[in-house]
């Protein structure tokens, strides 16, 4: 060690210079609940199970999202629609239980890709932190969007104009 290194003092000063220098830099963090960052329109956050224009659930519990899911986060139990429930479910089969384990989910969006009924979408909402692990298993009460048309979740930005144009074809009317 040289004399300069042995007295330590210049090294301490150099360290302090770096530390105090950071005080005057622009902060890289934001005060989260009050300030939020801007999200991309196609950010993949919490899922939503969409209703159709008449407020009926789109999901028919076909299981394609669950088989596409690389994390095996999705489980469902199907049930048959009874007479008189036509205003609730669009097709004769529906998901009686639909659960996504948000701790398992990697938010890859494969479920959205796999869905033949345009029922599941990822949204810009975030999954909230919890104290208990079992609270992260989201059921239909947290996933299905509200019945009230004003409170529906808009996913139109996730679909490119080409996709929206394609869906206008009457052969694909089951997905409108």
């Amino acid at each position: 060690m040289s004399f300069r290194e042995r007295i330590y003092f210049p090294a301490i000063l150099n360290g302090m210079r770096i530390t105090f220098g950071h005080l005057f830099r622009r902060k890289t963090t934001v005060q989260y609940p009050e300030v939020t960052r801007q999200f991309s329109d196609i950010y993949r956050g919490k899922h939503v199970l969409k209703r159709d224009d008449q407020g009926r659930e789109r999901c028919t519990s076909c299981g394609l999202c669950a088989v596409a899911c690389p994390a095996e986060a999705i489980t469902m139990v199907s049930a048959e629609r009874k007479p008189g429930e036509e205003h609730l479910y669009r097709e004769e089969k529906y998901a009686a239980v639909y659960e996504i384990n948000m701790l398992r989910c990697v938010f890859c969006g494969d479920c959205e890709e796999a869905c033949p009924k345009e029922a599941i979408f990822l949204t810009t909402e975030l999954v909230k932190s919890e104290y208990q692990r079992d609270k992260f298993i989201y059921g239909k009460d947290q996933l299905v969007e509200p019945f009230d048309p004003a409170k529906r979740i808009d996913v139109s930005k996730r679909q490119t104009p080409a996709v929206l144009e394609f869906k206008k074809d009457k052969r694909y009317k089951h997905n409108v």
Binding site: T60, G63, V67, K93, K117
Partner: protein
């Protein structure tokens, strides 16, 4: 023995063998798909035209090609016959048309249908199918009916292959259902909603190539790709008792016959085995069934295999892929 060449592969078969069965002896991709022919049912075949092939040379003496595509399930081979299946663009084109015809009235409700994942028509339309249909007409619609206690008939999905009619004729002593009316409006039905109750009647579910006849005890219970098909057997006084049990954990969701590589059941099973024995204690589980790697059912399905790697370490050659 007659020598026949199918897609440049030669094989010797007995006299009276059909082209389809000769192709099945070769196996692999050479085999034409069949929607209505069922080797275990006498008289089946010749209706769906899916198995059309081109005969490039009729026999050794007559080297001219046959003027039209022929249904391979009902055309017997002749000595020196040269058949083209996948090697003929004409056949591929014709088959595309057949798929379009079959889908004219078939609803696209695969997400709801219990047959999805093991449906012959789904495989066929995926393999040959077109994304578009040329017709603007509405599909025919029928109300859903229960035929018998455990069988549901979705007439909308029926492609009129007549397999179930032959099965009921040949397996049961008294057939109670058949095809009513003719042509475009023909439909499978029981006579004045009579129920199908024979103890072998459940086999019409297995022979149905689409989801027109489905098991009511399995209706909407699960999707086939979430289940593990296992070989199982039990002592049964009526049938062989050899079945495929579709399980989720220790729970048996449904029982079917064991289907071979051509989608035909090896042995017909009785209704008691199929519908009533859903407890794991009723069965002796032999082990997982072989599922083709390409099938969606193979997701999370593990089976014992002798093949360690695709390349044989001694021969240095590629194994034949299943």
């Amino acid at each position: 023995m007659l020598k026949v060449t199918i897609d440049n592969i030669s094989i010797e078969v007995e006299e009276g063998t059909t082209i389809l069965n000769a192709a099945r002896k070769i196996g692999g991709k050479v085999v034409p798909p069949a929607m209505c022919y069922y080797s275990k049912l006498k008289g089946s075949g010749g209706k769906c035209r899916t198995c059309l092939v081109k005969v490039a040379q009729s026999c050794t003496k007559d080297t001219r090609p046959m003027s039209k595509l022929v249904a391979s399930c009902s055309t017997p081979v002749q000595d020196g016959m040269v058949v083209q299946n996948l090697t003929s663009p004409e056949v591929i084109e014709a088959r595309k048309g057949i798929v379009e015809f079959l889908l004219l009235n078939h609803p696209l409700d695969c997400p709801v249908c219990d047959q999805a994942g093991e449906c012959d028509l789904q495989d066929l339309s995926f393999g040959y199918g077109m994304e578009e249909t040329a017709t603007d007409d509405e599909r025919r619609e029928y109300p859903m009916t229960d035929i018998g206690e455990n069988i549901k008939l979705h007439m909308n999905r029926c492609i009129l292959c007549y397999r179930c009619v032959y099965a009921a004729d040949q397996l049961t002593d008294k057939r109670l259902h058949g095809v009513l009316y003719r042509g475009d409006v023909s439909e499978i039905s029981t006579f004045i909603n009579q129920s199908v109750t024979n103890e072998f009647s459940g086999n019409i579910i297995d022979v149905c190539p689409v989801g027109a006849l489905t098991d009511k005890t399995f209706r909407f219970k699960s999707r086939v790709w979430f289940l593990n098909p296992m070989n199982a057997h039990r002592e049964c006084t009526r049938c062989s008792g050899k079945v495929a049990a579709w399980m989720f954990g220790n729970e048996i969701f449904r029982i079917t016959g064991r289907k071979d590589q051509f989608g035909e059941v090896e042995e017909f099973i009785c209704n008691e085995c199929r519908f009533e024995k859903k407890d794991i204690n009723d069965w002796v589980i032999d082990g997982p069934r072989h599922i083709k790697r390409q099938s969606v059912i193979s997701a999370n399905h593990y089976e014992e295999t002798k093949k360690q790697s695709l390349i044989d370490p001694i021969e240095g050659k590629m194994h034949e892929q299943k």
